[in-house]
Symmetry: C2
Subunit: 455 residues, 2 copies
Amino acid sequence: MSKIQPRTLSGFMELLPARQAQFDRMVEILRETYSLYGFTPLDTPLIEASEVLLAKGGGETEKQIYRFMKGDTDLSLRFDLTVPLAKYVALNYGKLTFPFRRFQIGKVYRGERAQRGRFREFYQADIDVIGDGKLDISNEAEIPAIIYQAFTRLGLKRFQIRVNNRKILNGFYAMLGLTEKSGDIMRTVDKLDKIGAEKVKTLLMDEEIGLTEEQAGEILTFIAITGSNEAVLSALEGYRGRNEVFDQGLDELNTVVKYLAAFGVPQSHFAVDLTIARGLDYYTGTVYETTMLDHPEIGSICSGGRYDNLAEYYTDKQLPGVGISIGLTRLFFVLEDQGYLNDALNTAPADVLILPMTDDLSPAIALATTLRQAGIRTQIHAEQKKFKQKISYADKLSIPYAVFLGEDEISSGVCAVKDLASGEQVKLAPAEAVAHIQAGLDKLNQGKPILDKGE
Amino acid sequence: MSKIQPRTLSGFMELLPARQAQFDRMVEILRETYSLYGFTPLDTPLIEASEVLLAKGGGETEKQIYRFMKGDTDLSLRFDLTVPLAKYVALNYGKLTFPFRRFQIGKVYRGERAQRGRFREFYQADIDVIGDGKLDISNEAEIPAIIYQAFTRLGLKRFQIRVNNRKILNGFYAMLGLTEKSGDIMRTVDKLDKIGAEKVKTLLMDEEIGLTEEQAGEILTFIAITGSNEAVLSALEGYRGRNEVFDQGLDELNTVVKYLAAFGVPQSHFAVDLTIARGLDYYTGTVYETTMLDHPEIGSICSGGRYDNLAEYYTDKQLPGVGISIGLTRLFFVLEDQGYLNDALNTAPADVLILPMTDDLSPAIALATTLRQAGIRTQIHAEQKKFKQKISYADKLSIPYAVFLGEDEISSGVCAVKDLASGEQVKLAPAEAVAHIQAGLDKLNQGKPILDKGE
């Protein structure tokens, strides 16, 4: 029979088992963390009617969408988790209770040009809080606090959540009489990290935007306000009283900074950063980006913000919200690429490999049942293989314990438990074996999936 | 602005939050159970190159496939988890360790005619053990034992795993000189439950298959062998010695039955059933179906079997395996429809709702942090709402505890913890509150997701 060459599409991450175990552990920690803050899990379809998914229309994303006909239905794969959330909330408005707090960790699709570290199928891990008509400002501090908690639980240390407020920016541009150009200006300023101040200034003064040198200078002075959060907030006070929206944004930012501290986020891990604007138009207040301090080149690993109207394309209800999204697949790729994954963590498919030394497997099965009832992941190696091959199997998979069960052990009601890392072997009764193995596993499973050597 | 009517495609399950929590709890139990038996999680792309996914070609499934072009690439959405597994194993053969035990719980796509209880996007929860060249028979007992364990942990009681062996069937047809017709015969016999013995006999004797009345009679006599497992196995001994394949199948079946008992599966929950053949050609030995005893009309909720050649379309390597698959979305639909879901289980997004009674939220945030550190899922209700509205919020979401924190409580270092089911309210220091709430939650979270009233 002629064979088809097996392959996985480019831009689609498919992991080997040990890596998959690490990825899954990260997802589990995110689920746990999001749940601790009262977020409920959602799972929406990967396919939506194109008319619904693309209600907002246009934009750069549209070209990237996987869109196709099935019969006479025009379908699209979701390209983020926000539009499906908007649809879900509009559709189920009467059945939901607000503020509605949901998390969703799922795959999304964008047909980007294939490129190392860019994915066409990738996980996003989102949290959003949606209010009915109103939503308290404290949510805007809690969201990044959750991200701080999540990254810390994952083991990441050297990261910083950068916070700004669009009202401050909009208010500032209004002071300069540049309100109509503020969108263009912000998109340009957004490139500061990538292209530097001089090029931003040039872009601001070129034909398309057309600022005077003075205006461009004022903007660069403004976004050059840096330093401690206290210093930045204090410098912003100097602009107070000139524009109502600005003042409101400054009040909000003060509150967010105050509550971020109350939520236990250390000063080292969040920074007021006036250059953060987020390119997207729907953000209306607080905005976030998150940087790995030792790898600024990879850009933001977690971004989001406050929006006033989640579902305006589907409903007249005013549904303000605040949300944030981790690009999980890309983050995982970067972590692996940069050597951040903790390979000391137990990624074996089983904690124990039982090697039965008798033809009848019943005693091995009984022992496996005892171990499994105690929560120990157990595999019986029942294949007709040599002893050495079975031990090599455990080694290759990094299974921490081998248990031998021969006639002698069976007749004296014990089993031989071997720690495959230390080589230490002891004969124990089943209940003792459980305790012995559990103690070893507790040590082995202490680590976090990310090993960040930074302080 | 004109609105787009929000909707979810027909045939796509999208759950409300409490139901989603129940579904997720079921997935979690399956993951835990599969992991206890040494299966490693896999996650393959939802999209594959059509050439790869449809290597086997033809078949009824092909018409149902979501297939489309993106640029000049011919793509398809996976329609099961077995073909992607075959691709994965063939592609990564040199990097995997055999026997390779993996589980995968993921969505698959089939464009079936829309119909109540039929889904176009649905979860399958699969386990497979793949050998390199050989695979021990004991795996064929362990697989259904895992399913017994999984369903039992979910709370299902009245179900039966039905086991047969294709070699017994093939050997039997060989005895009658009907080897070439055995495929047709088995597909016909497979309909026994649906259409009854008389119609099966008619079909066997019609032009297409063309058996004599005697042959059809022998087949019906054979598949009428029923009773206890012991009785069936004993009746089968009567055919021994007439065909080698038959004898081998009977040996295998005896071994599977013996080890199923060793794995702790009670006689009530598995039955040797000679009518089980599974329509699919790639099964070569043991085959399984699982029935809800009180709802035989819904058909098999979990099926699978032994195959000799997982990846023959991709590689010359002989990769025998055994696997089983739960159609999770359909099962969940049936459980909901038939009133099997345990609505007493805690499905609230949070365990505790904190109601701050002061303008400054810092004390509420500090208390929330304490509760969360103890693993208690906690939400702060910080919205500008009346007290009654906040309590009603907790009620609507079935949040078990409300915690009030006013000036009095803050100054005396306590909080008021109210059990919203009993109405009981106590003032406690934070550490006491943690213990009090945890004790209550332990009781509340004891239940299983399925409430099967049968014995």
